[in-house]
Amino acid sequence: MPGEAMIEAHGLRKSFGETVALDGLDLEARAGTVLGVLGPNGAGKTTAVRILTTLSKPHCGEARVAGHDVVREPNAVQRMIGVAAQDATVDAVLSGRRNLVMIGRLCGLPRSDARARAAELLSRFGLADAADRIVKGYSGGMRRRLDLAAALVARPLVLFLDEPTTGLDPTSRLMMWEVIRSLVNDGTTLLLTTQYLDEADELADRIVVVDHGRAIAEGTPEELKRQVGGARLEVTLSEPQPEATRALAAFATGTVSASADNRHLRAPVNGNSGVATTVVRALDAAAITVEDVQVRPPSLDDVFMALTAGER
């Protein structure tokens, strides 16, 4: 089974009135891997997830999940998948435990199995103490974890997580990452959408960058970074000095950008060793006092900026 495509989508198109949500999107995830779908708000990520999870029908194109066509065999797909949507889709008036037992029963588990599975997931996701409280009183992080637990009740082969950490505080976000990593170790195939580049970098084996409803880049996180090339130079000045930008332009392989207070300057440079030293010397010669100089490999932020720059 490893290596087999568990999620395949070809040429998905969907529009809502005048708005084009998907404009010929292709996706593929192989068994046991994590596909990160990365894009800004409105890129079409949620629409893609809704189509792949049988909630919505594409106007064009086709998609298969675990070998089943999402439009023609929705029931077969539903038996294979778990979904945690962006808006928590649990029943706010029921307790966490009742939600999971209900979902287990609706997935066809006998009552006792559904209860056991609920208890197991509640304790695994740190919700055992809150298990019998009504979900309305849960924090955002708890709700997301319950939603994820709900997605896992039937031990799905393929899991879809739509922006699992959007709106969470940093602690809950790290906790969510831990949970997601442990799922991947279980061999589940995972499609994860996110607008956070570090999240895709952290969790995904392959990343598809989506913008305006289509894939604009694809590859491993390393490949994408290489695509942008070079390194990033970041200089912090003691006080804003206009000539600093000019001094840095001599080293930059692209434009030098400045922060609002003009103290932080950034520029792409080629990654030769000794760049930092040369830069400090040049700035020193121009009588510019420097607080900090860093040369780092490009982040996915840089990748994203570079890939979408032309369209904005």
């Binding site: 809502f16 809704r50 999870t53 049988t54 909630l55 919505s56 029908k57 029931n75 539903q78 038996r79 998948i81 979904v83 949507a85 808006d87 928590a88 889709t89 649990v90 029943d91 706010a92 008036v93 029921l94 009742r98 209900m102 979902i103 029963r105 609706l106 997935c107 066809g108 009504i134 709900a150 039937a154």
Partner: protein, 267 residues
């Protein structure tokens, strides 16, 4: 395909879930608990005080079957509100991605509302007994009458399900439900005999399913039933007409609701 046993299991789970909702928010039940007591007392002591029935029957004896109809018809809005609430929350998307029998969401809702309608009817009967109403048709008559009211209420709740699915908004459902159900309850022989209504209104009232159901109830309870003197077919064959009306409503609205559920939740 999903087997019958799974489908029944899913309906049981959905009904159970709705009952937990009721247990958590019991005030939502006021339209089937407080309202029937209030309506019964108001109609009997206020309206009944000024009303003279043909053949000098007692208004209380006459009114209880009508009040059963009135309360069950107006509380059917609850189905519309409950479903539109569900549709407005994310939980419906969860149900739609589960390998369950999808109409269980609707059937579970209708069964929950059948249970609350039963509670509502029992409260009207109890209030009636407390203010001096008596059935004279024996236990069979009482049970048969009760069943006819509940069947009609169940059929009507599928009509209201369509309203809820169509509007997808609790307040709109309530509004539209009231506009449809209130005249349905009032333009009938439920609260006053139709004999003195203007011809057009009277014709509508005589053919209103609520009139047939109420007349069937009065007949089976052995209470004063002025409608028996009216020549309209549904009132001459009130029991049969009630069954036909209820089954016809079910045959139209249940498939329509299932279809609306599919189309209204897809995007």
């Amino acid at each position: 395909m999903i087997g019958v046993r799974r489908a029944i299991g899913d309906v049981v789970v959905m009904t159970g879930r709705n009952l937990v909702h009721i247990a958590r928010e019991p005030l939502r039940l006021s339209d089937v608990t407080v309202q029937p007591i209030l309506f019964t007392l108001l109609f009997i002591y206020v309206l009944g005080a000024g009303l003279v029935l043909p053949h000098h029957g007692s208004y209380t004896e006459f009114a209880i079957a009508g009040l059963l109809a009135m309360n069950l018809v107006t509380s059917a809005i609850g189905t519309a509100v409950g479903l539109s609430d569900d549709l407005g929350s994310g939980v419906i998307d969860r149900f739609r991605t589960l390998p369950m029998w999808k109409p269980a969401v609707l059937v579970g809702r209708s069964l929950t509302d059948l249970l609350t309608a039963t509670l509502c009817a029992l409260i009207v009967i109890a209030t009636g007994l407390a203010v001096g109403w008596r059935p004279h048709g024996g236990a069979e008559g009482l049970i048969a009458g009760f069943a006819i009211f509940l069947l009609f209420s169940y059929a009507l709740s599928w009509g209201c399900a369509c309203i809820g699915l169509y509007t997808r908004d609790a307040e709109s459902s309530q509004g539209i439900g009231l506009v449809v159900l209130f005249p349905l309850a009032i333009v009938s022989d439920a609260l006053v005999p139709t004999q003195h209504m203007p011809t057009v209104v009277r014709t509508i009232a005589d053919w209103n399913p609520v009139s047939a159901v109420t007349a069937a109830g009065r007949h089976l309870f052995g209470n004063p039933n002025p409608a028996a003197a009216i020549h309209a077919w549904p009132l001459q064959h009130a029991v049969l007409a009630s069954l036909v009306w209820s089954l016809a409503l079910l045959a139209v609205f249940a498939p329509l609701a299932i279809r609306l559920y599919r189309t209204q939740t897809a995007d």
